[in-house]
């Protein structure tokens, strides 16, 4: 049901033409379309608890939406606002923060971004180098730099990670909710090869905020940051599973129609076998996403299997991003010459697949985390 509705809406509203129009702008999305998504479809409400005016559905339903957004390369601040912003609130928001922020998100009035990494090659808490300092009067001062912040230049609210001066690794981490438009927040769009998702760099120059901007467990929030990123990884995996699936379907359509040597190219075994490998990856990716989404639900409901969150997220992220890149690369090859043109959409999926793979923990980073887990366990 959710899947059909999402597909019908996105096929018309996130068509190739609309995607190309949105991606060519610095803003990166169509404000009318965002209004339609939040006002008519209400997708931002999906997994927000009912007490905050949300629908209180599961992460599985949310991932079905992300899958279709990936399939149609939706250009909208949905990933940044929901997978990063809303999840950060769910995991680390105080009651007051949640009450205020969710109502604004539910109403479609707030767009969020999460800034934490300084752009070094690591993607965990180690990559937080911005600092916070608690001044005598309870005010907090934030200083530091962030890179690769999805929609960071356009969001009206930012959630930022910073650490106590002198701390390192997983120690001393705090999370803060700040407004995006303060003069001490310097934001710069950083144009990207994958134009369908916008990135920004952010500098905090002596930004002073009240203590109630601090989220839960200031100075000890590493676990929260891990969990937020894991939930975002699962959403991103769902998008990339959509990319893998769409790459397969575009290719099957094309090789069924395209004729050479008097027969459809899809009748050649060399082509068919590539398509079969693509389907194998897409289906395995789907299983990885569904399982991880179920684990996310367990985690959010404090269920007994919630402790698998980081493992399930790393499995899904590593596998789905590889599958998406493999399938998009095969799609490019199977389309032959036209796959190399700007006109055909294949390159948009190919670029998105690589951009996703190198963000929020690249494949090697997630695999290293998994290797450490399994070697520890035997």
């Amino acid at each position: 049901m959710i899947a059909e509705t999402a597909e019908t809406f996105l096929v018309s509203q996130s068509s190739s033409e609309r995607v190309r129009a949105a991606m060519a702008t610095e803003l990166g999305f169509d404000e009318n379309l965002w209004a339609q998504i939040t006002q008519e479809m209400g997708w931002q409400l999906t997994h927000i608890p009912q007490q905050y005016d949300g629908l209180g559905l599961g992460y599985v339903e949310l991932c079905i939406l992300f899958e279709h957004m990936g399939q149609n390369l939706l250009c909208a601040p949905f990933f940044s606002t929901i997978a990063l912003g809303a999840n950060a609130l769910l995991v680390a928001g105080t009651d007051d923060q949640k009450a205020e922020a969710f109502v604004a998100i539910a109403a479609g009035e707030s767009r969020y971004a999460l800034a934490y990494s300084d752009g070094s090659r690591c993607w965990g808490c180690e990559s937080v180098t911005a600092e916070y300092q608690q001044l005598d009067d309870g005010v907090i001062e934030l200083n530091g730099e962030y890179s690769f912040v999805v929609d960071g230049h356009t969001a009206d609210k930012l959630i930022v990670a910073a650490r106590e001066p002198g701390s390192s690794g997983r120690d001393g981490i705090g999370l803060f909710m700040i407004a995006g438009d303060s003069p001490e927040v310097v934001r710069q769009w950083t144009p990207t090869m994958d134009q369908t998702r916008k990135l920004a760099s952010i500098k905090l120059k002596g930004l002073r905020v009240a203590i109630d901007s601090a989220m839960l467990d200031m100075g000890n929030a590493a676990q929260h940051l891990d969990n937020i990123l894991a939930l975002a990884n699962i959403a991103q995996s769902a998008e990339q599973m959509g990319v893998a699936d769409k790459s397969l379907r575009m290719s099957v359509d094309y090789i069924s129609e395209r004729k050479q040597f008097g027969r459809s190219v899809g009748s050649f075994q060399a082509i068919k076998h590539k398509a079969a490998d693509m389907m194998t990856k897409a289906e395995a990716a789907r299983s990885a996403v569904y399982y991880a989404a179920c684990i996310a639900d367990e985690f959010l409901a404090d269920g007994p299997m919630g402790d698998q969150l980081l493992e399930a997220a790393s499995i899904a992220k590593a596998y789905c991003c590889e599958a998406a890149f493999f399938n998009a690369g095969c799609a490019l090859q199977l389309h032959g010459g036209v796959g190399f043109t700007w006109e055909y959409d294949v390159h948009l999926y190919f670029k998105r697949a690589k951009a996703a793979q190198v963000s929020f923990g690249d494949t090697a980073w997630h695999k290293e985390r998994l290797a450490a887990m399994v070697l520890e366990a035997v």
Partner: protein, 399 residues
């Protein structure tokens, strides 16, 4: 999608686990973890005795309907059975061809008399079976078989003449089910019959095939006018292909799901070695360990997806179709990882007379996983044609 099993199913898990803990001990201790793929020639007599022990506890044929002596276990419980069997180190089953292939085929296509004659002795572990499909000229192209079945009107029996190959357990089996041409001059999947042939007769000769492992799990079987009673034809003459194809559907059934526990055992053995010999410090080995872990977990998620009935997932059939290609490729890579974790040690055999280590057997034997039961190339044809609707090859394995 299910994350696990119901309380009732978990209670079933306890009952099989307890039975195995109580019974897979004493005289059977030495066959724990033995007799699996690559090791099928080992401890045969002990494993025959074990099969009967299992039968006494009603732990053979658990998925069969009650009218044929089974427990009518649900798909979930069958998976649990296979998981616990593997976890406990249950030895390679000598009765699996009868239980998983011959039995279900006889149930689906056999006469009342055939059911009464054959099923109880499969269930009890008294009669062992082998499968006569492949021939030297009919591998992936199974329909190209040339073994002939001729009805001897005087003796009122069928006479089977020809050669089968890659027949597991032929030298230990009491019966063989096979397909042969009932219509002289017929071609392809027409004119075939499905026969149940007793192996203990002088017109049948079994020759072991020496494999690259130095062992012989497979055989060539020569039929020189071998006798098959008139009432041991399943279905009508000419219907053999239909019956054989029905059987292949059973072959891709649930027994493959429990194998993931065997894979987990193998993987953990490799992890332990890596920690002992320092291979776990090598970043490239660590990446491959993660790959193996990811691959095995997703194999399980695929199975859970297939088992989920409450799912909105319309692509379950596709999840099933990728299974053989997926697990065989994964397992082959695991064998290779085992060697690279061992390093130079990988090359040293256990003993002088080419006695391979368990992991050497794994490494070598997993190269057959991507060949038997439909090669990876045939699997890709099937996926491309059946699931993706691409044009068909001239003649494929499944007709």
């Amino acid at each position: 999608m299910k994350l696990g099993f119901t309380d009732q199913d978990e209670a079933f898990r306890d009952s099989i686990a307890t039975w195995l803990a109580d019974n897979l001990s004493g005289e059977f201790e030495k066959i724990r973890f033995r007799g699996g793929p690559g090791d099928e020639h080992m401890f045969f007599e002990e494993r025959v005795a074990w099969e009967k022990k299992l039968a006494e506890g009603d732990w053979t044929c658990v998925g069969w309907p009650q009218e044929f002596g089974g427990r009518a276990c649900s798909l979930e419980q069958q998976v649990i059975f296979h998981e616990e069997y593997a976890r406990a180190g249950g030895p390679g089953r000598v009765g699996h061809i009868g239980e998983g292939l011959a039995g279900p085929t006889i149930m689906a296509f056999g006469s009342r008399a055939q059911k009464d004659r054959f099923l109880p002795k499969i269930k009890s572990g008294e009669e062992l079976w082998c499968q006569g499909y492949s021939e030297p000229g009919a591998g992936s192209d199974l329909a190209n078989i040339s073994t002939k079945a001729k009805f001897d009107a005087d003796a009122k029996v069928w006479r089977i003449t020809g050669q089968k190959v890659w027949t597991s357990l032929a030298h230990e089996s009491d019966w063989c089910f096979l397909i042969a041409r009932t219509e002289a001059g017929s071609k392809g999947n027409k004119g075939l019959g499905f026969f149940l042939v007793p192996m203990h007769q002088k017109e049948i000769e079994v020759r072991p095939i020496l494999q690259l492992t130095g062992t012989s799990e497979f055989n060539e079987v020569f039929f020189d006018g071998a006798v098959c009673e008139q009432d041991c034809l399943v279905g009508e003459p000419g219907e053999g292909w239909k019956v054989a194809m029905g059987l292949l559907a059973f072959e891709r059934g649930v027994s493959t799901l429990g194998q993931q526990m065997l894979f987990q055992n193998e993987f953990e053995e490799i992890l332990k070695i890596a920690k002992q010999n320092g291979a776990d410090q090598d970043p490239s080995i660590r990446q491959r360990i993660a790959d193996a872990h990811i691959g095995l977990k997703i194999m399980r998620y695929n199975s859970l997806r297939t088992l989920s009935t409450d799912s909105t997932d319309s692509k379950l059939k596709q999840a099933g179709m990728i299974y053989k290609l997926y697990w065989s490729s994964w397992h082959r890579n695991l064998g290779n990882l085992a060697m690279d974790v061992l390093g130079p040690q990988a090359d040293l055999v256990e003993q002088g007379d080419y006695e391979l280590t368990r992991l050497q057997s794994l490494f070598l034997f997993t190269r057959s996983d991507t060949i038997y039961g439909g090669t990876n190339q045939i699997q890709r044809n099937i996926i491309a044609e059946r699931a993706l609707g691409l044009p068909r090859e001239p003649q494929t394995f499944l007709g």
